[in-house]
């Protein structure tokens, strides 16, 4: 287990790389990448068993970024894990790059599912968890879902199936940053209360602060003890977390910063 201080250092490097990637590409999604940074870093470094040695295995712990537009986050974390050369990060969203705008599993080892079309990732995570149940394989499946994404009907089809198939090896984290492209989720199309909805669909639900490593680690540990049902960790997060002028502003959902804004952001993200 890495300490919270070590995780915080990794998260800072991840956020810096995301700023650099999106600025250089003049395209990408910073807000929803920053809201899920602690979630992804804690999963990859302290929870999931995904290593260079088992990376190519068809069966191992798996991660599905259902909110695939946070691709810069996934690539930056895979780079921290040593699965992707750091210098390649600046090819993000450019022609001939492996690092597509939304993740492609056939281009990058360590991307466990191609995602981007919202609502589809959680269903694939259900399929993976079901596979491990069928073949009695002791692996776990993790998926990060957006709160805006939960407006997709397919999320609820997947939720129904995960509970029906008793997939206690599935642990999803809902990145509840409260914003989507067009604005506040409660204004665009209110998906709340998500905790009660997932409970009603038969999930074990844990509510945490999505930027607090202790709470996240406790939730992952609790999810491992749950039998007969999947777990949904509802993580309250801040969109754009880590850069003051990006926080809680939906304008930063999918807009690249100018050179000056990037410089100011990187300054805030210094160690």
């Amino acid at each position: 287990m890495l300490s919270n201080q070590e995780l915080a250092k990794i998260a800072k490097r991840v956020r810096r790389n995301i700023i650099k990637m999106v600025t250089d590409a003049k395209s990408g999604h910073i807000g929803g990448a920053f809201s899920a940074t602690e979630i992804a870093v804690s999963l990859y470094f302290n929870e999931m068993n995904i290593t260079k040695e088992n990376l190519n295995n068809l069966s191992r712990d798996k991660f599905v970024l259902s909110k695939g537009h946070a691709s810069a986050l996934l690539f930056a974390v895979l780079s921290e894990k040593g699965f992707l050369p750091e210098e390649e990060l600046l090819t993000f969203r450019k022609i001939n790059s492996r690092l597509q705008g939304h993740p492609n599993m056939n281009y990058v080892q360590g991307v466990d599912m191609s995602t981007g079309s919202l609502g589809q990732g959680l269903s694939t995570a259900v399929g993976m968890a079901l596979s491990y149940k069928i073949h009695n394989e002791d692996f776990r499946v993790y998926s990060v879902v957006g709160d805006g994404e939960s407006e997709e009907g397919q999320i609820w089809e997947a939720a129904m199936a995960a509970a029906h198939f008793k997939l206690d090896n599935l642990c999803a984290v809902l990145d509840m940053n409260g914003l989507q492209i067009d604005g506040d989720v409660t204004v665009v199309m209110n998906p709340f209360p998500l905790d009660e909805k997932f409970k009603a669909f038969g999930w074990h639900v844990i509510c945490v602060d999505g930027h607090d490593y202790d709470q996240l680690h406790d939730a992952y540990a609790e999810a491992r003890t749950v039998k007969g049902k999947p777990t949904m960790i509802i993580a309250k997060t801040v969109k754009g977390k880590g850069v003051s002028f990006m926080e809680n502003d939906y304008m930063w959902h999918g807009v690249a910063p100018s050179a000056e804004q990037a410089e100011a952001a990187l300054k805030e993200l210094e160690d």
Partner: protein, 308 residues
């Protein structure tokens, strides 16, 4: 002549395969008695899953299962497998190139009495447009069995189009299905009929009638619509005055379009299409429907005689 629906043959073939191959997982969306995956469930309930009436989720679950090394057969009616779940098939199965076999039944208008809401006449067009998707439509029970066996050995996405109604068996027990290779069922020097699915039987009947009119036709069964057997089609087009495609599908984007794409590029020759016009179907018996919508041997004969 023996008669069996291709969906029946699918159910039997899958029930045999699922026992032999532990990597096969079958998904269905509350239609297992109609799609006949219930046969596989009867012999191997531990690898057959009903996902309920949720076709979009079924395709995603199929993709997830396939990403862990399973060979997944996912079944529903063609309307829902390719229409309702189009984008899930496109992004979670096509774009990922995962090992999912979408075996969709009740395709075309011969689904019958359920009517236009359930009659898929656009599915070949939709599936053919997805990069890397193999598209197959077997014409009878013998071919279906071999198709299912063959695709279980292919690593990648496949769409198999199956029918509800019983059709005559055209192939004999010596028949060998080869993916991507059209099957020549009759040779004649004047005209070539290129048919797929239940229209193969109609094309063979039409060939008999045309022969009585002194017109000798070749009949090619194109079971694999993608990748298309271009060299065989070209070979026969070059010795024909006319090529007529026959399919239980819309005139837009199906077999006729695929053949036209090839011939217009390589050897423009006079073509006609026997297919469903730009219209929806309706309720009725399969026979009443193929008559009204112009998919009988008589319609093929008429098209040929009018075109030469």
């Amino acid at each position: 002549m023996a008669k069996m629906a291709t969906r029946e043959a699918y159910g039997k073939a899958l029930a045999q395969l699922i026992v032999e191959d532990k990597k096969i997982v079958v998904l269905d969306a509350d239609l297992s008695k109609s799609t006949k995956t219930a046969d596989a469930k009867a012999v191997c309930p531990e690898r057959h899953f009903n996902v309920g009436i949720a076709e979009g989720n079924m395709m995603g679950v199929a993709a997830g299962l396939a990403s862990c090394g399973n060979t997944v057969f996912a079944s529903s009616f063609a309307m829902f497998a390719t229409g309702r779940a189009y984008e899930q098939v496109r992004n979670s199965i096509g774009y990922t190139h995962l090992n999912v076999k979408i075996c969709a039944t009740h395709a075309g208008i011969t689904l019958g009495e359920d009517g236009a809401s359930h009659q898929s006449i656009e599915d070949i067009a939709l599936m053919r447009a997805i990069p890397g998707m193999i598209v197959i439509q077997p014409c009878d029970d013998i071919e279906t069995k071999q198709v299912i066996q063959a695709i279980s050995k292919v690593n990648g996405p496949c769409y198999v189009r199956l029918g509800r109604s019983a059709v005559d068996t055209v192939n004999n027990e010596e028949y060998v299905f080869e993916l991507g290779k059209g099957s020549v069922l009759r040779k004649g020097n004047d005209i070539t009929l290129i048919a797929t699915g239940m229209m193969v039987q109609q094309a063979l009947l039409a060939a008999n009638t045309l022969s009585e009119h002194g017109v000798e036709v070749s009949v090619i069964n194109i079971h694999t619509i993608k990748p298309l057997d271009e060299s065989l089609i070209l070979e026969y087009a070059m010795k024909s005055k006319l090529v007529v495609t026959c399919e239980e599908h819309s005139k837009f984007g199906g077999l006729g379009s695929a053949v036209a794409e090839t011939l217009s590029k390589n050897y423009p020759v006079k073509m006609a299409m026997v297919a469903v016009n730009d219209t929806f179907g309706e309720s009725g018996t399969p026979n009443a429907l193929i008559e009204k919508y112009g998919l009988t041997a008589k319609d093929i004969v008429k098209t040929v005689l009018e075109s030469i």
